[in-house]
């Protein structure tokens, strides 16, 4: 197991399989900073219970805020949606002149910060923890918004320098002068020759036209364009116009220099405020994450996990969020499951389709969410922190890698056992189901013996009932179809479409777990279910014969 900064609570596969990734992806974040922070968030390890409690306090405070100030939450999220990550521009402002578009984006960010700060410092929002309140950035905003109109637009405004104002004024003056001069000459030509030029100071004429020769002879006009049918003449620039044009060109160069100087100046001002800008961005990200976590917890009816010193996971009416969301879409309810785990081995046994694997993943989900500072999907939960959480479950990836299911299972088992330390949570799904039952059972039993002696919480789903017979192993059983009226179920199945059968069986299934104290008959529903799903009676009856 890795320690230090790279210390890892659970590997990628475990985080995916037990549903941490699902929760992280479901959280509605609106700022690039929040997304980055959540992605990089680290779990709390044993010994960090106090820090975790403080994190959970924050989530709780934000949940109160979300419940009480729905409108403000919306306003904050609206601001967040406009925020873009401009940290690259902020950081390069020290050495480079930012482009106008970049400065515009930084001004937009400053305006967003201003509005957010306005909301968070108001009295009725004192529920927002102080750490999310942004620092005042009015001084840098004032520099980028010389007119103080606080509108989300940007331009190298005349107000930035006397000089740019003057240069632009001069340029406009020359433009007007040129136009005035041209207009005068157009008037002269009209008077002298009776020829009216267009407002663009040109004229197109057909070569067959009587005017053609006359126009051609006018000295002030030059041929701009011609073909065999017609010709376009335009007003020649005279000395005065040339003089103005030369001055305008010079002005343009000066203007460009002045604009560049202003951009440099603004960039430097931005760079001087880089620290406060960046720390405000971090705060916005933190607030975004806190709001996202809180809204997720409120929306999914999550509760604060009680963090306890001893290494246990106790869940009352827990719900696997991923499965619950799928069921909700289909308009169905999730049947909550309670389970209580401590160091030692607990087995989940019971009917096929009884939700054993889902309950296994649920235990991991509650434990890992708590350690990442989330509220958990249950009515009540107690969690003692783990150093290492790992799931062992078959997935399609091993097949893609070309390994047999047994081969990759053993490979993963080795990694899992090698990495396990004190306070480890191991979740094992159907160990050794991919090999012959004689060796598979032997291997399972021996693994249970090994785990019983270790300070780990081990949760194992299995079909081998003798695995649970060992002293010290706790057996949790899915109720399954034990209490079901089969006459009723069979009748419903009989008239259902084949594709509906699976849904009907799950409707009758009782997913709750019960602790089995004495070794008794494990319910055997496999043949029942196979029959209900339409496997021919020849095969089912044949199988029953073998059981006897």
């Amino acid at each position: 197991m890795r320690m230090g900064a790279n210390r890892r609570l659970a590997n990628i596969k475990t985080r995916r399989e037990i549903g941490l990734d699902y929760v992280v992806q479901s959280i509605d974040l609106n700022t690039p900073f929040g997304k980055k922070q959540l992605k990089e968030s680290k779990p709390f390890f044993p010994g960090e219970e106090e820090a975790l409690a403080a994190e959970l306090d924050k989530v709780e405070a934000m949940m109160d805020f979300v419940r009480q100030s729905g409108k403000l939450t919306e306003q904050i999220q609206e601001i967040f949606m406009e925020v873009k990550d401009v940290s690259y521009s902020i950081n390069r402002a020290a050495s480079q002149s930012l482009s106008v578009v970049e400065i515009y984006e930084i001004k937009s960010l400053l305006l967003a910060m201003r509005r957010l700060r306005h909301i968070t410092v108001r009295e009725d929002t004192s529920l927002i923890p102080q750490e999310y309140v942004l620092e005042d950035t009015t001084d840098i905003l004032d520099i980028l918004d010389p007119r103080r109109d606080r509108i989300n637009t940007f331009y190298i405004y005349d107000e930035f320098s006397e000089r740019i104002h003057e240069l632009r004024g001069n340029k406009r003056q020359y433009e007007i002068s040129i136009r005035k001069e041209q207009k005068n000459r157009r008037e002269e030509i009209k008077q002298q020759y009776g020829i009216l030029l267009t407002p663009k100071f040109d004229i197109s004429v057909s070569k067959n036209s009587a005017d053609f020769e006359k126009i051609k002879a006018i000295e002030d006009l030059e041929l701009a364009d011609q073909d065999y049918m017609s010709a376009t003449f335009q007003l020649k620039a005279n000395e005065i116009v040339y003089e103005y044009m030369k001055k305008m060109d010079e002005l343009n160069v000066e203007l460009e220099e002045e604009e560049e100087r202003i951009r440099r100046e603004l960039s430097l001002a931005i760079s001087q405020h880089a620290q406060v800008l960046n720390s405000n961005c971090d705060k916005m990200g933190a607030l975004d994450v806190a709001l996202g976590k809180a809204m997720f917890a409120v929306g999914h009816r999550c509760v604060r996990p009680e963090i306890v010193p001893e290494h246990i996971v106790e869940i009352e009416d827990g719900r696997n969020l991923q499965v619950e969301d799928i069921l909700k879409e289909k308009g169905k309810e999730y049947c909550p499951v309670s389970i209580s785990l401590a160091d030692g081995v607990t087995c989940i046994t019971g009917a096929n389709m009884g939700g054993k694997t889902i309950s296994l993943k649920l235990s991991g989900q509650v434990a890992i969410l708590a350690q990442y500072g989330f509220f958990v999907p249950a009515r009540k939960a107690k969690v003692g922190l783990s150093n290492y959480i790992q799931i062992l479950i078959g997935d399609s990836q091993s097949v893609e890698r070309g390994l047999s299911s047994f081969g990759s299972e053993m490979e993963e088992l080795k990694i899992m056992l090698d990495n396990s330390v004190e306070r480890t949570l191991l979740l094992i799904d159907e160990i050794a189901s991919g090999t012959n039952p004689v060796e598979g059972l032997a291997l399972s039993k021996s693994l249970v013996d090994y785990l019983l002696q270790r300070p780990y919480i081990s949760l194992i789903t299995t079909h081998f009932e003798t695995v649970t017979e060992k002293d010290g192993v706790i057996n949790m059983q899915v109720r399954g179809l034990a209490d079901v009226n089969f006459t009723l179920l069979n009748r419903e199945i009989q008239y259902a479409k084949p594709s509906e059968r699976i849904n009907i069986i799950s409707k009758y299934m009782d997913y709750r777990l019960y602790r089995v104290e004495k070794q008794g008959q494990v319910p055997k529903d496999a043949l029942n279910i196979a029959k209900m799903l339409g496997i021919s009676s020849e095969i089912i009856e044949g199988a029953q014969k073998y059981i006897k």
Binding site: V100, V101, N152, F154, Y155, P199, S206, D227, M229, S230
Partner: protein
């Protein structure tokens, strides 16, 4: 008051659409912008796709940048922002990306030349226009599609200005005839509101050919295009069929095999007139046979601009062209953009 003032009274958005490449679309746009300055109309300028580049990318002909007066609202991609000669105040960074960077909505703070571009997708043009109108312009000119066959959705703008010119053909007669044909097609009557129209609008989501009889009964054909399917359509038309809805292109092969009695009996319904791909001669022939066509949405043509010059090196007599066009399309404003 001039043309632009009138346009602004009637429409909010006007697309400039060329009959063919180099029909003088940009010239027309420049002309209209100048008119707008004279009429004191505050313009918005955008385009479907990039435009105003110095070189026409397809034919290599000169393509001037567009000179814009102060306070014009214009869309410019981020990478072209710094290249603009005009002073541009950034009003908004939109969410639309173009090959030249994110699209900005700007106000011209200092007059000058600008290369304009709009959102690449025609359907986004409408949303951008709505935002531009929000910034206070009175009329938006959209530098539209290269040729009229590629106008994806006529809903983009309230009306179009059709640019036509010598580039279409060396024969002036042909240029005039083709233009008149298009104007003719675009003024096909819209289907009247009523039960049959409602039925079509409610059921055309899957883009199938539909037949509707007098009782309001719908028959859908398992064909998405009518191309080459006139026999199947003929089979389905019986005495009570009133309308035939064709979602795709309307060509010769859609109607060639339809019995002439049946052809007279039914009315063909199209989405809009750009779906018609019949030349002037065939169109006239089928009309004589009694072909009736209605559209769900027609396209209003606000004016026609003519360009007597072709990049291939020939020119028409400008006055003769304008005159012939005016005679062929009575009542339509015809503007020679090269005067």
């Amino acid at each position: 008051m001039g043309l632009l003032y009138e346009l602004q009274e009637k429409y909010k958005t006007v697309s400039i659409v060329g009959m063919a490449k180099n029909a003088g679309k940009t010239t027309a746009l420049n002309y209209l912008i100048e008119e707008a300055m004279d009429d004191g109309v505050r313009l918005g300028i955008t385009s479907t796709g990039r435009d105003g580049e110095t070189q026409d990318l397809v034919t290599g002909t000169e393509k001037p940048q567009i000179y814009l007066e102060q306070d014009t609202i214009v869309t410019v991609p981020a990478q072209l922002y710094d290249l603009a000669d005009a002073g541009l105040e950034i009003l908004k960074k939109t969410k639309y990306s173009t090959p030249m960077g994110t699209l900005l909505i700007c106000r011209v703070a200092d007059s000058g030349y600008v290369q304009i571009a709009g959102p690449p997708a025609a359907m986004d043009t409408k949303k951008v226009c709505a935002e531009m109108l929000g910034y206070g312009c009175e009329l938006i000119l959209i530098d539209g599609a290269i040729d009229r066959k590629s106008i994806a959705s006529p809903e983009t703008s309230d009306a179009i200005i059709l640019s036509t010119g010598a580039v279409l053909s060396r024969s002036m007669r042909k240029v005039v005839d083709e233009t008149a044909h298009i104007v003719n097609l675009y003024s096909i009557p819209e289907m009247e509101a009523g039960e049959a129209r409602t039925l079509i609008e409610e059921n055309n989501c899957d883009d199938r050919i539909m037949l509707i009889d007098k009782e309001g009964e719908i028959t859908k054909l398992n064909l998405t295009t009518g191309l080459g399917s006139s026999r199947f359509i003929d089979d389905e038309i019986d005495e009570s069929t009133a309308y035939v809805y064709i979602p795709g292109a309307f060509t010769n092969s859609v109607i060639i095999d339809i019995d002439s009695k049946k052809l007279k009996q039914v009315t063909f319904i199209l989405k809009n007139p750009t779906k018609i791909f019949l030349n002037a001669m065939d169109w006239a022939r089928f009309r004589k046979k009694g072909l009736k066509v209605n559209v769900l949405k027609n396209i209003e043509i606000a004016a026609i601009t003519v360009n007597p010059w072709s990049p291939a090196g020939y020119t028409f007599d400008r006055e003769a062209l304008s005159q012939a066009m005016k005679e062929a399309i009575p009542g339509m404003p015809v503007i020679d953009v090269r005067v």
